[in-house]
């Protein structure tokens, strides 16, 4: 009924494709994790910044004919700037003390505004405009499948980011300060933590990562907003796997999800229609989120209402 008809010959290539694709949305997922760690909110704003990244990268490489790596650096700078500006707002006394759900609403508002400004200021034609990769057009043959340098670079970048963000959050004083801010902004301020320096810095880093994700997506999916939204949703899904707190688990979730996705799209499991595929991925996300919440609940005091996030 689901159209599942496994083809073992395609398992290898499907795995390689999945692994190669994982890098794209794990970069965005790491940005979401970093934002969650500092504010206990979902950084919807990163969708807006990713749109800036994709549109900006396309615009700079195609309209201004900049070299790919230069455009990438410029886009990273813009992303960091937008992230820092957003961080300035979020650390502001009037906003910082709002409840997490309200802060998530602010994040949605910022996402809409930034996305609207990006699409207005970086007009693209046609709608789905593919630009060249900053890492060239070379490819490597792995398990009878050509992996492009772009995909390989994406995965490498995401692994490097996982290592750096994990070290930053768990092994540095600034990481401890980030956790303190997320627990209680006011207490953190009275403890002498420099809210603006730590907060704005973290948001700027997360913004740069989101813009990077958008720029990395541009050579693959172009400037199709629904494709960027889908990648953002995938990033949210894998961030849920890591309970929004572990970059390493987010990368792991990205690999698993991407592999499942590629198995479904490459006919390795038969001709599964897109609706069934999306349903399967969504169901996997829901079950993972419930499992993560139950696991966390078991490790906390047994309260009747402890499953609140």
């Amino acid at each position: 009924m689901l159209g599942i008809d496994p083809n073992p010959d395609l398992f290898g290539p499907a795995f390689v494709i999945g692994l190669a694709n994982a890098g794209i949305f794990s970069v965005l997922a790491i940005a979401l994790v970093l934002t969650y760690r500092i504010s206990r909110t979902i950084g919807f704003v990163h969708y807006g910044i990713a749109v800036v990244g994709a549109y900006g990268y396309y615009h700079f490489t195609v309209e201004y004919t900049m070299p790919g790596w230069v455009a990438l650096v410029v886009v990273l700078g813009i992303g960091a700037g937008v992230g820092a500006a957003y961080g300035l707002v979020m650390m502001n006394g009037r906003i910082a003390f709002l409840p997490p759900l309200t802060l998530s609403t602010v994040s949605i508002a910022a996402m809409l505004i930034i996305g609207a400004v990006a699409t207005e200021n970086f007009p693209v034609a046609p709608d789905v405009a593919i630009s060249s990769s900053p890492f060239g057009d070379d490819s490597f043959r792995v398990w009878s499948f050509n992996v492009t340098a772009h995909r390989f670079a994406c995965l490498l970048i995401s692994v490097i980011l996982v290592v750096f963000v994990s070290l930053y959050l768990n092994r540095t004083r600034a990481g401890v300060n980030v956790r303190a801010i997320s627990d209680d902004v006011e207490a953190a301020r009275w403890s002498g933590i420099r809210l603006y320096r730590i907060g704005v810095g973290s948001y700027a880093a997360a913004g740069a990562m989101a813009a990077l994700a958008g720029a990395l997506l541009a050579p693959l999916a172009g400037t199709d907003l629904s494709a960027i939204l889908l990648v953002f949703f995938r990033a949210l899904t894998v961030a849920v796997v890591g309970a929004f707190s572990s970059p390493a688990l987010a990368l792991f979730g990205a690999v698993v999800l991407s592999t499942v996705d590629s198995f479904a799209t490459t006919s390795a499991l038969g001709d599964i229609n897109p609706a069934t595929r999306e349903s399967m991925i969504f169901a996997a996300m829901v079950l993972t989120a419930v499992a993560v919440a139950v696991f966390r609940n078991r490790n906390s005091p047994r309260t009747a209402l402890a499953m609140r996030s």
């Binding site: 969650y36 609403t105 996402m111 505004i113 949703f233 849920v240 969504f282 009747a304």
Partner: protein, 661 residues
């Protein structure tokens, strides 16, 4: 006791009493006879979106869960509902009523599916799940071109009401049809809001622990909010299908549209249905007027969301309500000063000149008290007669390596005023949490009137007659004192949602009785003059009494008070404990009081337990406890001699200081 002048338990009457509502109704009907067709059509579209936004308001504003799937639910209902209604090869040709029911049921089922998985997780997960539903709809429903009609769309016939066809080409007739549906929706929501179901949704949204303490079932209540949201989304969908005459393109119902509609609900605010409707109409109307400026909808939604957040949870509608009240009745301070308290002034003399405080009984004047107690006699259930109201046996509880409770056993006699004291970290609040069901013990038994309730949920224990207050005040600051008090009345009111929705007299009679009881309790607690004021604007002591009043309105047999004087000055603390003592005697309550204000406990309680390091150190009458050497050493002070020596004497005696050093 004066009569409550602000009764709202007749929901429709309370709407009609507001002059602004009447003016609004006249304007809503009258303006179409002077307006061009395209404006009438635009406002009709806005009203349909308003119906959907009212549903989002229930979920976002009342239950405080963000819904990012509004457009998906709306579009699914639109396409499936019009399929049911449309005759011919691309539909089933059923009557409009059937199509409406199908659309509403689809909306409810979709949101209940989200609720099933997400309400236990709550917060950010609801956001992620609803966004997932939106994307699923886009991938599954929007790709069924036979259902949606693709770019061409499919014709949907005009609605027929009692045999009369309301043509979608006749903008005024269709507007009046939609307006009448909006009126029915407003009527339903007004009744829901003032019913125990609506109040429960708001309390669960604001504070889940406070809600379960007065018997609200959190998951069912949140699921109800999700279902109402889905139902109104479905209703709006089928209305839109008949309005447009053909199915609109799927491009209109993406995730961005969901966010736009979310912003309508947030900007409108949870407290003003008219505000939400007005914002919805404005969102349709203003871009049309500013067509030349090419207003970007996404930008408009973003700015509106920000504005909504800056307006606070009561939104633009709430702000306008405040302005109206201020203009009509004057500033809050003036309004309060016009309403004298029914209390005596005894509280003012409680602080003695030597710096200590004296516990004196205070309360309302005798005639007010008598009338209030007569009202409450019929509200409270008959008192239980079992000798022991509450007992815990050998309660053990550890948090990781910390053993918070180590065999704590207490027995609270029925009708007694029992105190539980102990140093910080002794486990008092943990024991309270175990007793009230918020935390499950590792070992041990909790009994209420002899029944083992150890495995029962907090709301089941509340139904047995036990309620509690919290160390930090847990009230809904955005709501009035009346709404906060009445949120506790759910256990004492019987009636299904359908009965409340259609306005059956029996359940609404109970709501009126609840309102009378709430007024009586407000008079006993000296908060009746704040009746319609928002709790967030009151002083701390009044907030404390409001929380106590909410607990009392659930008609408890057993009342658990967790440090009710925390944060109060000595005079107010003494006054509050005296007031509680008197209420306990008047209402025949069994009270278990956790308190650090030891003098109040020793002066006021019949029985005192002392908890230290998770175990009961001593128990007995207050005099016995005060004289207990172990209690003195572990809690009351290092030794009687030192405790009675003033700090000036100790400083003046260097030898003594040296000894202690």
């Amino acid at each position: 006791m004066s009569e409550n002048p602000y009764s709202r338990s007749r929901p429709l009457l309370s709407l009609v009493r507001q002059p602004l509502n009447l003016v609004g109704a006249v304007v809503a009907i009258g303006w179409i006879f002077f307006a061009p067709d395209y404006r009438v059509f635009t406002v009709t579209t806005g009203l349909i979106i308003g119906v959907l936004a009212l549903g989002v308001m229930v979920m976002v504003g009342w239950a405080r869960e963000i819904n990012l799937a509004a457009a998906g639910v709306y579009a699914t209902s639109l396409y499936l509902g019009s399929w049911v209604y449309r005759p011919g090869p691309n539909g089933w040709g059923h009557p409009l009523v059937i199509a409406i029911v199908v659309s509403v049921v689809i909306g409810i089922l979709m949101m209940l599916a989200v609720a099933l998985f997400s309400v236990r997780l709550s917060g950010v997960y609801v956001m992620v799940f609803t966004l997932g539903v939106q994307i699923l709809v886009e991938r599954i429903v929007f790709t069924q071109y036979r259902l949606t009609g693709g770019d061409q769309g499919l014709v949907t016939p005009s609605p027929k009401i009692f045999g009369y066809e309301v043509s979608s080409h006749d903008d005024r007739a269709f507007y009046l049809f939609v307006l009448s549906v909006v009126a029915l929706v407003l009527m339903f929501l007004q009744r829901l809001r003032l019913s125990p179901y609506g109040r429960a949704i708001m309390l669960v949204g604001a504070d889940q622990q406070a809600a379960v303490a007065v018997g609200v079932r959190p998951l069912k209540t949140k699921a109800l909010a999700f279902a109402v949201c889905g139902a109104l989304g479905g209703l709006a969908g089928i209305l839109a299908a008949t309005l447009y005459g053909s199915t609109p393109g799927t491009v209109n119902y993406t995730a961005t549209t969901s966010l736009l509609w979310l912003s309508i609900a947030i900007l409108g605010g949870f407290d003003s249905m008219a505000g939400v409707l007005l914002v919805a109409v404005a969102f349709q109307y203003i871009p049309l007027q500013l067509e030349k400026l090419h207003v970007n909808y996404q930008l408009l939604a973003g700015i509106s969301l920000l504005a909504g957040v800056l307006c606070g949870s009561r939104g633009l509608g709430g702000r306008l309500q405040d302005l109206y009240r201020r203009l009509r009745f004057g500033p809050a301070a003036q309004r309060r000063s016009r309403r004298p308290s029914s209390f005596t002034a005894a509280a003012e003399v409680l602080a003695r000149s030597d710096g200590l405080t004296e516990l004196r009984e205070i309360g309302p004047s005798d005639d007010v008290r008598q009338l209030a107690l007569e009202t409450l006699e019929s509200w409270f259930p008959p008192r239980r007669t079992e000798p022991v109201a509450l007992a815990t046996e050998d309660i053990h509880l550890s948090f990781g390596g910390v053993r918070a409770l180590r065999g704590a056993s207490i027995e609270v006699p029925t009708g007694s005023f029992t105190g539980l004291i102990g140093p910080n970290g002794a486990g008092k609040t943990t024991l309270f949490d175990v007793v009230s069901g918020l935390t499950r013990p590792d070992r041990g038994t909790v009994r209420i009137f002899g029944s083992d309730v150890t495995r029962d949920q907090p709301w089941d224990r509340a139904a047995l007659g036990m309620t509690r207050t919290f160390q930090t005040t847990r009230i809904v600051k955005e709501l009035s004192v009346a709404d906060n008090l009445l949120a506790g009345a759910g256990l004492r009111i019987r009636g299904s949602l359908a009965q409340f929705a259609v306005g059956m007299p029996a359940p609404w009679r109970q709501v009126r009785e609840a309102e009378e009881a709430a007024w009586a309790i407000a008079c006993l607690l000296d908060i009746e003059r704040y009746w319609d004021e928002r709790v967030g604007e009151l002083e701390f002591s009044a907030r404390r009494r409001t929380e106590l009043g909410r607990a009392l309105l659930s008609g408890p047999q057993i009342l658990l008070l967790d440090e009710p004087t925390s944060g109060l000055d000595p005079a107010s603390s003494g006054a509050l404990i005296g007031l509680v003592r008197r209420l306990q005697a008047d209402l025949g309550l069994t009270v278990l009081l956790v308190e650090h204000y030891v003098k109040a406990v020793l002066d006021g309680c019949d029985l005192v337990y002392v908890l230290a390091e998770g175990q009961i150190l001593a128990h007995g009458e207050p005099g016995t406890i005060a004289a207990d050497a172990q209690v003195q050493e572990r809690y009351l002070g290092a030794g009687r001699g030192e405790a009675t020596t003033g700090w000036r004497e100790r400083l003046a005696d260097p030898a003594g200081a040296g000894n202690r050093g």
